[in-house]
Symmetry: C2
Subunit: 555 residues, 2 copies
């Protein structure tokens, strides 16, 4: 049993990621000698994290307490909830609990990313209660933009800690699988000590539209577009794709699929019964070419402007298998993930230039969010009647606004928490308080898959990205205490006024040539002197701050 | 007179920037031996232009034809219409026609940027017709988010070429200065051969709200906020600031200003009568500190998340003159310029974390656009009845949508043009056609103010930003044909798996050591061999593509 210094037992909840940010969701619940982990996601680098491929939480706390960690529960298969898993499992061996669908969607990716490890998957359906250490844990079905999405209720000795996960309350879901409102109500009755709620869409008033409403927009476009209709969405949005197939059948079109991840997901979902392709509606690209354009629809990846995606290559007229032509229509059935706006708009603009009409911001419903709006968030609070509340899956502004709403609903400020990564929320029978932060942070993973890109590395990259790099190339005879040959400055990515480099070279050569023999024998001294003088010159004469590297060779 | 090969005379319109993009507006009208230039703007670098400060059009065509260039007309003082001027005037001496307000706002900046040149300003009011070469040119008053904004009508031998410039049709402008609808109607009667229309907001249906409507939102916030109210907007949005002063007076607040550009603009506008500060409402920051918080309003720069702005520094609790505290409210009275979203949201999030409530996306009117919505765009077409139409100030999607609207209004496709930079639209008495492109493009200007950042420089910066730089440091005795000392690899901004660099160093050393004496005497050979082998190793063993620089010294 975890105890305060005064002897009272408590339950701790720590977010290792996903609070104060949207991305890399990962939280833990700790009680005595047991820890369960809820989700294990990644996030994408912001524009300051140059050359970083993905970002995962720092799992030090879990590694230090690895014997306590009894299970990881994955709410659904989106990367911001599962993408960090290989990096945790590399150091901590622990069973992974997930639904059958989540398992089917992620297992190939996990094998690719962690090839030498057999992962102990435990497939459980929503509604089944699993004993994990001293906890009883269950998935509760809730709607989102992916099938078999779940909330996680962790029954602790002080009541349920309920993670909504990503959710919306869609009363007409495409697969007919409804949110288990009754179960939320039941655990509300039993006693939810803490609700950790999705807050991503807290800025939006009212109720979000049902996924099913998108069919209306699709129907309008697919029945009136003069030529082919292309549609891009996230490769995991199976319900969206189901609707494209259904509306295609209605409107006399056949559907081809372009893009590896989408093709793979469609195969998986079709074989498992999560996607039903009406008879004869699914075709391949070669078949599509034999049909009149107004009988063709094409599903494609690339909704985030990914450089190597089919859509981006098509927009550059650089995709061998399919050429965009005048009269085509693209439905942009997605939303830009922040940071991707540039490449997405450039792609859309290029499509227009090829004569393709792009429907991207339409009064027609062509995309809906998978996250709850304000009234849905309130309903979740009403149903589950938590004692404490803390928004997750939100930036500070979302947390702030969510807490405003909770307080407007009557929650006193001391029952509403703004969590920060690593800071435990400790709850005993009577109180809750924020405890002392555990070690946490971010681990930056580079393009080779190696974790640990440091702030120093980013600083150097930033310097070069701005003003290039100068390489001071100096050969020294350390026995004689002499500069050998001509010191030179090589530049890459540098751009300054004409003659700047020549002048810098002269100044540097003068400075190091005037050193005494003993000083010249000290390579650090030469490195330092040369770097300093060139740096000052650059700042003074051109307001430039290139990276300066002294390559001093001992000969 | 310009003539086609068949002898027919024509007028040419060429956009050097501002078509297929929003930014660096600059167009020319050419007839015989005369050219007039309309606007001369800059744009901001996109995320691929690493280390670029600003982007201006390539003015080669104007430089080659400098004796023809008779005048530059500036529609208003925004950077995307005036910021390229110093770079044109450096090479082409030409009178600059502008209104008194535009002159007042830009002249200090122009002096800073082009210190050694006396600019020949010709201040003219809207409505005055100026003879420039064979053209008669006039400004026509039209509303926008800055005072004294104008359209430009260039009377050519085939009729008026009308540049709307940036505009909206605001029937209740804050300064009471109405759009000169009558004059637009008159030149429409006289004959507009070509309308070049703003198309930035063509995606928005209906009519845009009046600038004056913002007062309602300001009033609501300033009368109810419990503490200080800060407001950030563009430093040139004088009408917005006027309303802040007026509403402050109404609601019992006094206004202090923070941020150099805003303070300067307010001084200029007040002294010229463009801004009226109600008696006693303007205070300085020290005075603000002595007042109860709910009697204070603060105007501040930083609406684009600029790193050095007052607001960003305040959000980091790093601004000596003013500390954000719980109970403060910030009105974000602006819109993110694409590309600035990251820093802006981080600033807003930090403000929330300091306990400041930020109103940024409100049902209240707290910001309105300065650009015309669909119905306003249509009204401009109705008033001016142009024969040909071409949207400007838009990306390809805006051009496409604008042209759709024109065609919906009855324009046949051959009278509607999608301009590209550098491609002349040539009009004679009977026809219009796109001619052969003149030399154009972009000039990238670095942080030191030096133009000419090349694609090669950007490529190198991109390589380093992604995967760092490796410096192969090799000393060669070219007389003896020997490698001297130990070849080494220095890295900066590089991150790979452990031991990678050591292995690369071994492979490189083996390769160059096995060269024959004659080959070693060839420094290019060594550079090339070393670079190639390291590059291959990096790509193969880590999927990395760092920049590789061979610093080979001859000793």
């Amino acid at each position: 049993m975890s105890r305060y210094p005064d002897g009272v037992s408590f339950v701790r909840v720590i977010a290792l990621g996903g609070v104060g940010e949207i991305g890399k969701n990962c939280s833990i619940v700790e009680q005595g000698d047991d820890i369960v982990v809820i989700d294990c996601g990644l996030s994408f680098p912001n524009e300051e994290m140059l050359g970083v491929d993905i970002v995962v939480p720092d799992f030090s706390y879990l590694i230090e307490n690895k014997e306590k960690v009894k299970g990881v529960f994955l709410t659904h298969a989106h990367e911001d909830h599962v993408g960090g898993l290989p990096h945790l499992l590399r150091d901590v061996s622990v069973p992974v609990y997930l639904t059958e669908f989540t398992h089917a969607l992620i297992r190939h990716k996990m094998e690719e990313r962690l090839p030498n490890k057999k992962i102990d998957y435990r497939i459980i359906p929503a509604g089944e209660i699993v004993k994990v250490g001293s906890f009883a844990v269950e998935f509760i079905r809730v709607t989102h933009s992916i099938p078999e999405n779940c909330s996680v209720a962790v029954n602790t000795e002080h009541g349920y800690v309920l993670f909504t996960g990503d959710f919306k309350l869609d009363f007409t879901p495409v697969d007919g699988k409804l949110t288990d409102l009754k179960r939320f109500g039941e655990i509300g009755e039993e006693g939810v000590v803490l609700l950790l709620s999705d807050s991503t869409n807290v800025e939006r008033k009212g109720w979000g539209p049902s996924e099913r409403s998108v069919a209306e927009g699709l129907r309008k476009v697919m029945s009136t577009a003069p030529g082919r209709v292309l549609l891009t969405t996230f490769a995991s949005n199976i319900h969206r794709m189901q609707q494209v197939y259904d509306v295609a059948k209605e409107t006399g079109r056949k559907v081809a699929v372009v893009g590896r991840s989408m093709e793979r997901n469609i195969d998986i979902c079709q074989s498992m019964g999560y996607l039903t392709i009406p008879n004869g509606v699914g075709i391949n690209l070669d078949e599509a070419k034999t049909l009149p354009p107004n009988e063709v629809a094409i599903l494609t990846t690339g909704s985030q402007g990914e450089m190597l995606s089919a859509l981006v290559q098509m927009s550059k007229a650089d995709y061998g298998r399919l050429q965009i032509k005048e009269g085509d229509t693209l439905i942009y059935s997605a939303r830009p993930i922040p940071g991707n706006e540039g490449p997405i708009w450039r792609t859309i603009n290029r499509l227009f230039q090829l004569g393709c009409n792009v429907i991207y911001d339409s009064p027609l419903p062509i995309h809906v969010s998978g996250h709850a709006y304000q009234e849905e968030l309130k309903m979740m609070i009403n149903l589950t009647k938590p004692f404490y509340i803390a928004p997750v899956h939100g930036e500070p502004r979302h947390q702030f606004l969510y807490n405003q709403i909770a307080m407007d609903m009557g929650y006193p400020a001391h029952r509403v928490f703004t969590l920060e990564a690593g800071v435990p929320l400790e709850m005993d029978e009577k109180n809750a308080r924020l405890g002392k932060a555990v070690h946490t942070g971010v681990v930056l993973i580079d393009n080779s898959g190696t974790p640990g890109v440091t702030p120093e590395i980013l600083r150097d990259r930033f310097s070069v990205a701005n003003d290039g790099v100068l390489i001071l190339s100096i050969a020294v005879d350390t026995l004689a205490g002499e500069i050998v040959g001509d010191p030179t400055i090589l530049t890459r990515g540098f751009h300054g006024s004409p003659g700047m480099i020549e002048r810098a070279q002269d100044i540097m050569t003068d400075a190091i040539s005037s050193l005494k023999k003993e000083e010249i024998k000290d390579l650090d001294r030469i490195r330092n002197d040369a770097t300093t003088i060139v740096k000052k010159f650059m700042a003074k004469s051109g307001k430039l701050r290139p990276l300066i590297v002294a390559a001093v060779i001992e000969v």
